[in-house]
């Protein structure tokens, strides 16, 4: 770039070194405390930023799933269900500490495999992973206070299938409460992002977690289906698309398996004209461009009060022009790579449909690297509630802007979706926040902030965004059943 055009936005690359990683050339399945070969055909996991192969990953077939579930069952019967809650907690505390110790390595692996900016994996994903284990560790010997009455019991073997957008964080959301409650686990990371889970398996070995308590099997959708439908599984926990969630709800019907589903979303981020607009713009950016918009609770529908729309959109565009898209491992990067070609194709397709349906497209002017999967931050204005880009989850850095005049209209538009995962409210008026929050049919509502997560805070959806909660005391209920005399029951002689 010529010197005359340099600005404060220019910067020297500051890539995080991958030398901290000590990766194997290939990984087996983590079953019964050790890595074992799989029956299925192995596959490569690649960096979406370079399309270069990182390492070779095993694929578990139905027989491998059998072995993993059997290992989890044995561990449940012989070890984990007979261990004191205090000791279970100590293992979880150990894991939390080990995650903190290997935080840098985990962050680099996550950004390499997923494509998310290192500043996010370093400052959000991995610290939350440690926090999640630390939080649930303390619950393990306090389950009488979980809200299910005295002596609640573990469900047994939990089958867990997690997505590629927050690979290690979703693993922590699933494993930490399951183990605290006394269950054993077979977990399948997403096909495109298995790396951090395999490093996590090494952490489990360092923690000396008894064999079989956590089993990590890699593979694609078929592996997940075999796991979820395994007859010796007591609990199914899934985070991912609503389409797959439906299939799981259907296939587990009548089996007696306990099921929790954390599915898609199309969150409204509502900006009133009395909002602090500078903060709101930051919140809108964080809401939809955090993690390239690969966030189920992303604020993908901006509902802005009509009289401030022009100003908000202008400020938003100005802000987006300053975002740096590129190498996920570069500490200056704001927008990383799209996780896979398949996802990139979907984002492109829905964006094209947005244009075809009459919305106005604006794309942030940024240079796209020649290799890898990338999509520049994009805003659609003039979006109507019937447009596909206002209804379908795009799961990418694409914001649809709609307007409203009154709070009632904002609420009605916000709720006009089969989803109900999250929502945002921006206004300086506290009483308005409370009144609007009351009316929104969504499980998580952020007032004057967005995309905040905490292990103490329950997360999960209404309607077709799924059921069950993860995080907080409520998150334990997904992995426990009432004791024989549990719950609050009216004692009647009938």
């Amino acid at each position: 770039m010529p010197a005359s055009t340099t600005s404060f936005l220019d910067y020297a690359p500051a890539p995080e070194s991958t030398s901290i990683l000590n990766l194997a050339d290939s990984y087996g399945l983590f079953i019964n405390g050790e890595f074992v070969p799989a029956n299925g055909k192995s596959f490569a996991t690649i960096s979406p930023a370079t399309e270069k192969k990182i390492t070779e990953i095993a694929s578990a077939d139905a027989h491998d799933v059998d072995l993993a579930v059997a290992a989890a069952r044995r561990a449940f019967d012989r070890t984990w269900s007979t261990m004191s809650g205090a000791d279970r907690g100590k293992y979880l505390f150990r894991i939390a500490r080990l995650v903190q110790e290997r935080a840098r390595e985990l962050a680099v692996a996550e950004s390499l495999d997923n494509g998310k900016p290192i500043k996010e994996s370093r400052d959000v994903d991995v610290p939350l992973v440690a926090a999640w284990f630390f939080y649930y560790a303390g619950w393990a010997d306090k389950l009488d206070h979980a809200g299910l009455g005295p002596n609640p019991r573990a469900l047994g073997v939990a089958a867990q299938v997690i997505p590629w957008n927050f690979p290690l964080l979703m693993l922590a959301w699933k494993i930490a409460p399951a183990l605290a409650a006394g269950n054993t686990v077979v977990i399948k990371p997403a096909e495109t992002t298995p790396l951090s889970a395999l490093i996590f398996a090494e952490i489990l070995q360092q923690a000396d977690l008894p064999p079989g308590v956590v089993n990590i099997i890699t593979g694609a959708g078929e592996t997940g289906a075999a796991l979820v439908n395994h007859p010796d599984v007591n609990k199914v926990a899934f985070t991912g698309s609503t389409a797959v969630g439906r299939m799981i709800a259907k296939s587990t019907a009548g089996t007696g398996k306990s099921v929790t589903l954390e599915l898609g979303g199309k969150a409204a981020n509502i900006v009133f004209d009395d909002a602090p607009l500078d903060q709101a713009v930051e919140g809108i950016v964080n809401g939809i461009f955090f993690n390239q918009g690969h966030v189920c609770c992303a604020g993908s529908r901006l509902l802005v009060q009509e009289n401030v729309e022009a100003e908000v959109v202008e400020r938003l565009k100005d802000r987006l022009k300053t975002l740096r898209l590129g190498d996920p491992l570069d500490k200056n990067t704001d927008i990383g790579a799209i996780n896979s070609r398949e996802q990139l194709d979907r984002i492109r397709e829905l964006s094209d449909i947005g244009e075809a349906e009459g919305a106005t497209r604006w794309t942030s002017p940024c240079e796209i690297p020649s290799k890898g999967f990338w999509f520049a931050p994009t805003i659609f204005t003039g979006v109507e509630t019937s447009h596909r880009i206002a209804r379908d989850e795009i799961f990418g850095p694409v914001l649809s802007v709609l307007t409203f005049r009154t709070p009632a209209e904002a609420i009605s538009k916000a709720n006009n979706t089969p989803y109900g995962l999250s929502a945002g409210i921006w206004t300086d008026k506290g009483s308005k926040i409370l009144a609007v929050a009351d009316q929104l049919r969504a499980g998580v509502i952020w007032a004057n902030t967005f995309n905040r997560f905490d292990p103490a805070s329950p997360f999960g959806g209404y309607k077709e965004s799924g059921y069950g909660r993860e995080g907080g005391r409520h998150g334990l209920a997904a992995y426990l059943k009432s004791g024989s005399n549990g719950g609050s029951t009216r004692k009647a002689s009938r």
Partner: protein, 284 residues
Amino acid sequence: MSHLPVPKTYKLYIGGAFPRSESGRVYEVATAKGDFLANAAKASRKDARDAVVAARAAFGGWSGTTAYNRGQVLYRIAELLEGRSAQFVEELRLTDGITAAAALKQVETAIDTWVWYAGWADKYVQVTGNGNAVSGPYFNISTPEPTGVVAIIAPATQGLLGLVSVIAPVLVSGNTAVVVASETSPLSAITLSEVLATSDVPAGVVNVLTGSAAEIAPWLAGHADVNAVDLAGAEDLDWVDLQATAADTLKRVLPPEPGVPDATLGRITFFTETKTVWHTKALI
């Protein structure tokens, strides 16, 4: 002078009114001994849909009432049930073939169950919600809210107690309901509807369908505007298929239980959603 009895026409209860089935169909309700008792309305798919529309329309108002008010409205129903006790006893004696003493016992248990649930209206939020100590400048609180429209397959036995045991817990939090009454013991359901109609429960909050549960249940399980299904009394139906149908719209589904469900806090909370709100604190 002798009095020739005036028999009651048993109709559906939808949106606060007592319509016949739009299909014009009825079915015979017999005593336990097999004698003719009444022609009850045989609800159709269209009736089920009308009931869902009524329940949806009533949801905003009912869920928006204060918890104290909802508790009083529910308690009021127990008062009215008490006044109708003799009628329920007589109907249960006939349809269920039980002694007057057993019928009275059932009515009394139903009333006590209703009072127990009514008392939860302004407490279940405190017991099942909580503040969350998050790491950051946020006031963060989780509270349960009603799920929405709940379709209920009432237990096949114990016509009154079965109904009360599934309706009351759904109403406590502010849900609205479409209930398919016991096919063989529907008289209590109609009489309970009359109690509801003359109580302070707003029209549409409870809608009662009589007829064939096997025929109506699939339409309710598949209806996109129903948020949850209580299959309490569906044991003899193809309930696995109903649950699979409900999965298309990711409804919350409570599987069948034998007999009449116990009164538990869990039956209230199953039909609620936890909402967590993060309120930003200013940095001062």
